[in-house]
């Protein structure tokens, strides 16, 4: 984990609301980067003091490049959208834990589940884990205009749906997930997406007795675990029955059984 400068290699559209930044960043690879980890990126606008935590979408260790899938939403991400090839951006990373930590040693089949922006880190995990495990990717989108992250994957390994039926079946991602669990029960499910989706995936996993890890999102400060801002509620043997853990340093990926959604 380091603070280092990254050079923008490419900035291109990904879908209606998202773009992808390809960044060359030698410093980041000194300590390595894994699927599920994120970077805290400075947005080159001094009036915005907070860095933006963004999960890694693709890793190219040979070229020492990472790709970030960014949703252009607020001022910070719009500043990133304006960055051009050759620009330098300060990165702090790679931060947090990795999906691979949650895959049991003897696992054979891994289901990866993403919703919207949350498809990015699970697509990264699909690419990283496919060499070792039998992986399938489940993705849910609001509509066809927001689809990304599926290119280059064999058709039989992708189960994509949309809220309005404009892409794939009109369904929640838990529908194809439930069907495939019945057919080919996986050893572990790894998920990232909106809280209701994570809750549903977690319930489904529990019902079938499948290990499940979820990647959480929260507004962050330092990204290092010092400021205690990005807390999430987990079950704990405290008088209150819960405790807060740091999404940045204890996560972003948690065992789904621990999380209080």
């Amino acid at each position: 984990m380091k603070e280092c400068l990254a050079r923008v290699v490419d900035n291109s559209p990904l879908c209606d609301t998202m773009f992808q930044l390809t960044l060359r960043c030698d410093g980041l690879f000194e300590d390595g980067a894994e699927a599920g980890q994120f970077v805290n990126i400075a947005v080159n606008n001094p009036s915005l003091p907070l860095r933006r935590p963004i999960s890694i979408y693709a890793i190219d260790r040979q070229k020492r490049e990472i790709r970030l899938a960014v949703q252009a939403k607020g001022e910070g991400t719009l500043a990133l959208l304006r960055s051009k090839k050759g620009d330098e951006l300060s990165l702090l990373g790679a931060l947090g834990n990795a999906f691979s930590w949650f895959v049991p040693n003897n696992a054979k089949r891994v289901f990866l589940v993403g919703g919207g922006v949350g498809v990015a880190p699970v697509r990264c995990a699909f690419d990283e884990l496919s060499a070792k495990y039998d992986c399938s990717l489940f993705a849910g989108y609001r509509n066809v205009g927001l689809v990304y992250g599926l290119d280059g994957i064999e058709k039989e390994r992708v189960f994509a749906v949309s809220d309005d039926g404009s892409f794939g079946e009109k369904a929640l991602v838990t529908k194809p997930l439930g069907e495939q669990i019945e057919k080919n029960k996986p050893d572990v499910i790894l998920a990232c997406g909106p809280a209701p989706m994570l809750r549903a995936v977690s319930d489904l996993s529990e019902k079938h007795g499948i290990a499940c890890a979820v990647s959480l999102e929260q507004r962050m400060g330092c990204g290092l675990g010092a400021c205690l801002v990005c807390s999430c509620k987990v079950k704990a043997k405290t008088p209150e029955g819960y405790a807060y853990r740091r999404v940045c340093a204890d996560g972003p990926i948690f065992d789904a059984r621990e999380v209080i959604f």
Binding site: M1, K2, E3, A42, P46, S47, L48, P49, L50, R51, G76, S90, L92, Q218, R219, M220, G221, C222, G223, L224, G225, A226, C227, L228, V229, C230, S231, C232, K233, T238, E240, Y242, A243, Y244, A249
Partner: protein
């Protein structure tokens, strides 16, 4: 080579740049990025007598050149700090300031007693946390309350006591004098300004706690004015903070009368901020032909 060393209440700091409480934990996380011994000191995450879980998220919101936080004093409790974090911190070469917060005068006194036999170098009384209902406002803004709690803690403490003042006050000079009269050996200011950020589409405040403590570059002019007023109202040393992002910002606080400075929010923008601020302050002194950083303290010429 300009000298950067300062002394506050007999405690020697190798330079006047101190990590502000709440942004730097107990130092371990930032030490993974750089050796925190390059800093003058650290004021640790606000400690309470008992462990506190803190507020539900979101705990942070952004505004132009500033942030608002409402962590709510999440910390492992003073005993856990003494047993688990202090031994590690004392291997480092920097001044360790224990920031303490309580909901009653007795809480503060008990913490000062627990810390008395430890290797902690100084105490900083957080009497102005805006994010905890019972503490915060109750002690931090009224001079008679500041006097009462400060006097009690100074009676129990073995280390020099710094009182951290809230900017959410009617008269900062009066509050500074109240702390001094009660026996405080130093002051630090400003704590955060109470504010709110609104999400107009959700029609809700961004912070779960609705209100939060504002910090960052946007508050710097207010902080400079208050540090100037406080430093000129008392004889005890003042530590200045509020939106410091550079060595020149640090110099501005020292010119206003601060003997040292604390850096908080900038650690989020740039995790390497404090080592940079130390070297920028050094460069500022060279540029202005000053041989000792103490020579810029209170050197401001008012119009």
């Amino acid at each position: 080579m300009p000298k950067l060393g300062v002394e506050i209440c007999g405690v020697k700091f190798k330079n006047p740049v101190i990590a502000a409480s709440g942004t730097f934990g107990f130092g371990r996380e930032f030490d993974a990025l750089y050796d925190i011994s390059v800093l003058g000191g650290i004021s640790v995450k606000g400690l309470t007598l008992q462990k506190r879980l803190g507020n539900p998220p979101p705990r942070i919101a952004e505004t132009k050149s500033g942030i608002l936080n409402s962590v709510g004093l999440q910390n492992p409790g003073v005993d856990a700090f003494i047993n688990e974090d202090l031994p590690w911190l004392k291997q480092k070469d920097l001044v360790v300031i224990a920031n303490i917060a309580g909901s009653t005068v007795e809480d503060y006194v008990k913490m000062a007693e627990k810390l008395a036999p430890t290797a902690v170098d100084m105490l900083e009384m957080n009497i102005s946390c805006p994010n905890v209902k019972e503490s915060g406002v109750a002690f931090g803004v009224k001079p008679e309350k500041i006097f009462e709690v400060t006097k009690a803690v100074c009676g129990a403490a073995r280390q020099p006591v710094i009182v951290k003042l809230s900017p959410n006050a009617a008269d900062i000079a009066e509050n500074a004098r109240a702390a001094e009269e009660a026996g405080a050996q130093a002051l630090s200011l400003i704590n955060t300004l109470t504010g709110m950020v609104v999400d107009v589409y959700r029609k809700r405040p961004v912070l779960f706690n609705n209100f939060g403590g504002m910090s960052g570059a946007a508050v710097r002019p207010i902080a400079l004015r208050m540090v100037y007023q406080a430093a000129h109202a008392v004889k005890i040393p003042v530590i200045g903070m509020g939106g410091i992002t550079s060595g020149e910002d640090a110099a501005a606080f020292m010119l206003c009368g601060a003997r040292a400075v604390m850096v908080g929010t900038q650690n989020f923008s740039d995790p390497m901020a404090m080592p940079k601020i130390v070297s920028e302050l050094h460069r500022y002194l060279e540029k202005t032909g000053v041989v000792d950083v103490n020579d810029i303290v209170d050197a401001l010429v008012m119009n």
